[in-house]
Amino acid sequence: MYLITFQILLAFTACVFFMSKRHMSSFGLLIQLGLAGITGYWSVDVLIHGTVFERELLINFWGSPLEIKVDSLSAFFILVLNFTLLTGAIYSKGYLKPYINEKNHIEFGLHYFSLIWLHISMLLVCMLRDGLAFLVVWEMMSVFSFLLVIFESEKKETVKAGINFLLQMHIGFVFIMAGFILAFVQTGATFSFDGLSVYFEEHHSFPLFLLFFVGFGIKAGFIPFHTWLPLAHPAAPSHISGIMSGVIIKMGIYGILRVLTYIHTDLLGIGIFILIVSVISGLLGVMYAIVQHDLKRLLAYHSIENIGIIGIGIGIGLIGIAKDIPILAVLGFAGGILHVLNHSLFKSLLFYSAGSVYMRTHTRHLEHLGGLIKKMPKTAFLFLLGALAICGLPPFNGFISEFLIYSGLFKGLQTSSLQTNFIILGTAIGLTLIGGLAIFCFTKVFSIVFLGTPRSGSSEKAKEVDGGMILPKILAGILIVAIGIYPVFFVKMVGKVVELYVSDISLIIQSTSYMSKISYSSLVFILLITILWFIRRAQQKRVHVEHGPTWGCGYSGADPAVHQYTATSFADNYRELAPPIIKVGKHFESLKEEEIFPQPRSFKTKTVDMIEKNIFEKPIRKIINWMEKAAIFQTGNLQHYIMYAFMFMGLMFWLTIFKII
C-alpha cells in the first residue's frame, strides 16, 4: 500500500513542469510530504522495533526489481533528511518569490523538479543496497543538487561554483565506483554493499576503505576535500545551502558509516586515520571560517568544522571498538551520529536565517550589514539560537553531542593504553579549541550582522521576512531546544543506530541517567534566568530609565556606523596567531611621494585558503596548462593526418615485431 503510493508519487513528479509558477512549490511540498510521510513511517517503525524493513520496488533495474532495505542507520538518516528537506521546501516558497517574474517557467520547474528528485534520490541512497543502483542514485543526487545550486545563474560565480561542485562530486563518485568495482573484482561476490563484507573479511580493509573514504569524504567535505563547500554554499539559493549543509554532506557520513558496518579488521588504523583527518577538518574549518567576510561562505566553513566533529565521534568510536573499550565506542558513535542530526538542524536554521538576511539586504558581505536585530527581530533571535547551538553551548542540542564525545574521551582516558591516551588528549584539545573558536566566530558574526548600527543603506532599509520563511526556522529551533533540554529520548534513538557497531548497548542506557541530569541542570539554568529577568523587569519599572548615545569616551561626534568594530578588526588579533594556514591578501594602492593631498583610496583584503591553493589549484593548473600545450595535433594539414595513420601502423608493427605488446 505504502509502497504503491511511494511509486505513484515518483510518477507524479514530472507534473511539476505543467504547474503554474506560483503553485509549483506547493505541489512539490505536497509530493515531498507524501514521500517523507511514507519513508518516515517505515523508519520510525524500524527504529522502534529494531527490525530491518525490506521490500521490492516495482521498478525494474536491469531486469531485476530494485530492493530497498531500511535498517536503523538508514532510518535515522531518512528521518534527518526528511525533516531538513521539508523545512527547505517550505522556506523555498518565500525565498523564491522575488524570482517569479525573473525566471521563466522551465527554470522554475527545473528547480522544483530537482528539489523533489533530490529528496527522492537521497531517500534511495539511504535505502538501496545494490552497488550499481546505489551509484546511480548517488550521482543523481549530485546532479540534482548541481541543478539546484545554479539557480541564480545570472551570476557568473554561481555557475562556476556549480561546475566546480559537479566536478568534485564526480571525482568522489569515481572513487566510490572504483571501490565497489575493486571489491567486486577481487572477491566475485555480489556487486553490492553486502559484497563488500566478503572483501573486508578476506583482505586488508584499510586500502579499500581509503577509496571509499575519499569518495564519501569529498561529499562530506573533510579537509582536504572541502574546497567545493565554500564555493557552492554561497552560490546556491539559501534553502539549498541549508539542505546542502544540513543533509547532502551528511550523505557522505552515511556512506562512511555504511561501509564501516562491514569492516571488522584494521579498525584501529582506520579510527586513528579518521580521527586525525577529522581533528584537522574541525580545526582548520573553524579557523578559516573566522576570517571570512561572506556570511554564507563562513557558514560553509563551519560545516567543515562540524563534519570534523562528527568524524571525531566516529573515529573515537572505532578506536573504542578496536581497543575493546565499549564505553569509548558507544559514546563516540552516539556523539558523532547525534551530531549529524544536530548539525542538520542548526546549520539549516543558520542558512535559512542568512538567506532571509540576504533576501532583505541583497548582500552577504558582513561589512555591509549591521543593526538587523531591530529590523528583523525574529530572524535575529532564531539566528542567535542557531549560533548558540553550533557553538555547542548548553542548553541547546549542539552541546549534547559534543558532551557525549567529551565524556567518551574522558572515560576512554581512564581505561586505555598510552598511545590511545595521547590520541584522546590531542582530540580533546582539538575539540576544546574548536569550541572556543566557534564561540569567537559566532560572537563576531552575530554582532556584526545583527547588532550595532547598520553599515549600509540596504541593511538600514531591511524588514522582517514573512511567516512562511520564519516557520521552517521555528520548526528547526523547536527541535534544537528539545534535544538540548530533553536529550534522553534522542540519545536512545541514536542508541539503536549505535547497536549496528557495538553489540553491548547497555552503556548507552547508563548514559541516559546523566542525560536526564543534564536536563535538570539546563532547566535550573533557564529557571534562574527567568527569575532574574523578572526581578530585573520589576526593578526597571521602579527606577528611572534613560536612553542616550553609546558612550564614546567623551567624544560623540563620530558616525556610529563607522565607529563600530568591523568583522575584519574583530578577527584581526586572531588572524595574527595563524599565519601559515591563513594568508590574507591585501589590495591597495600605496601613497605616492608627490601626493601631498592624498586622493580617496580603497583597501581590500581577501583571505586565501592555503590548502586549496597549494594542494589543488597549483597542481591542477599545471596539468591543465601542460595539456593545453599538448593540443597541437589538429593542425588542419591533411598530410599530417595521413602521417598519423602511417606512423601508427609503423609503431604498431614495430611494437609487435619486438614483442612489446
Partner: protein
Amino acid sequence: MIVAYLLLAVVTGGAVYCFRNRAATLFFILLFLVGQTVLTVYAFCHLNERDSTYFTFDSLGVILSFVLALLSFASFYHSYIYLERHSDTKRNKSFYYAALIMLSASLNGAYFADHLGTLWSFIEATTLCVAVLIYHDRTNHALEATWKYVFISSIGLAIALVAILCISIASSKEGVSDLNLSSIVAHAQGMDTTWIKIAFILSLAGFSAKMGLFPLHAICVDAHTVAPAPISAFISTTLMNVGFLGIYRMYCIVAQTDALPWANRVLMIVGIISMTLSAVQLLKIKHFKRMFAFSSMEHMGIVALALSAGGIGYYAAILHIVLHSFAKAGLFYQIGQVYSVYRSHLIKESGNYMKLNPLGALVIILTFISVTAIPPSGLFISEFMMFKSLFAGEHYFVAIVALFLLTIILYVIGKCLMHLLYFKGEGIATLKPVKLNNLETLSQFVLLGLIFYLGANPPVFFTDLITGATAILK
C-alpha cells in the same frame, strides 16, 4: 529482401532527385523510410538468416539498423526543418534528400553485409554519399572539410582493402575461398596469426577514418564542424557505427585466434590515445560542433577500450555505441536550434540560452548528463561495465588514466554548455527569444528518453540482441 530494399532506395532516391515538388518529395521519402523500417523489422524477425547471398541478418546488424531506422526518421525530419529554415534552392534540396536516402541505404547494406568485399564497398559508398551532404552549405570550409573527408576516407579504406586482402591470404590457406565472414570466423582458429595481425592493424587504421578513432580521427571532426546539423548527427552516429562495425568484424576474426590478447592491447592503445587526444583538444575548444565531435571521438575511444577489456566489455561496447548514437543525435539536432538562435557555432558568441529557448535548454541539460555519462544516463551503465572489465583484467593504470580523462572532459563540456545556457554578455542581451517548433524539441526528448530507458531497464529483446552480437566472441 536487401536487394529489394536497395532497389527501393535507388528508385526513391532517383525520384526525389527528379520530382522536385514538395508533395512528391515527401511521398518518396516516406516511402523509403517505411521500406527501411520494414527491412529492420524483417531482419529482426529473420535473425541470423542469410539474404541475397552476401548478406546476413546478424544481431549487431539488426541493432545498428534499428538505430539507423530510428535516426533516419529524426534526421529527415530535422533536415526538412533545416532546409526550410535556410531556404535552399530546390536543386540543392533534392540533391540533399537523394544523398541522404542513398547514405541510409548504403549504411544498411554495410550493416548486414556478410561478405568482406561487400562490406567494404558499401562503406566506401557511404563516403561518397556523405560527401554531398557535408558539402551542402558550399562554403570554403565545407569544401575543405569535404575534400579532407573524402580523400582521407578513401585512403583509409584503401588501407582497409589491403587488410581484407590479407585476411583473404590467411583464409585461403585454411581452404576458405569465399570471403564470407561467417566462414572466416568459423575457420579463423587455425589461420596464420601474422597475416591476421597485419590485417587487424591495417583495418584499425583504415576504418578509424569512419569511426572517428585515432589515427584518422581528424577528418570526422572537420566534417562535423561544417556539415548541416542533421548531417552532423548522422555522421557522428550511424556513420561512426559503420566504422565500428568494420573494426568489430575484424576483431571477431582476431578473437578466434591466439592473437586476441595482442589485439586487445592494440585496441587499448588506440582507445587511450583517442581519449587523450580528444581531452587535450577539448581544452582549447571554441566551437560547439567541434566540441561534440571530439566528444564523439572520446566515446569511440571508450568503445575501443571496452572492446579491449573483453568479457562484459563487449556488451558494454555495443551498448555504448547504441546509446551514444541517441545522445549525439539529440545533441546535434539541438545544436541546430542553437545555431538558429545565435547564427554562430562559436562558444563565446553564445549565452543565455535558458531564457532564449527554455525547452531547448532542458534538452541541453539532459544531453549534458547523457554525453558525459553521468548517471542516470544509460551511457554511464556502459562505461561502468567497461571499467568493471578493465578492473577485472587488472588494467588499473589504463582505468585510472581513462577516469582522469573523462573527468577533464566532463569539466570542459560542462563549462562550455553552462556558458551556452547562462552566460550573459554584451551582444547576448540584445537577442530576442526565437519561436521554435516544439515538435522538433520533442523528438529530441524522445531520443534522450530512450537513453535513460535503455540504460535503466532495457527490454529483453534488446539485451538478447546485444548478447547475440557478442556471442561470437565468447
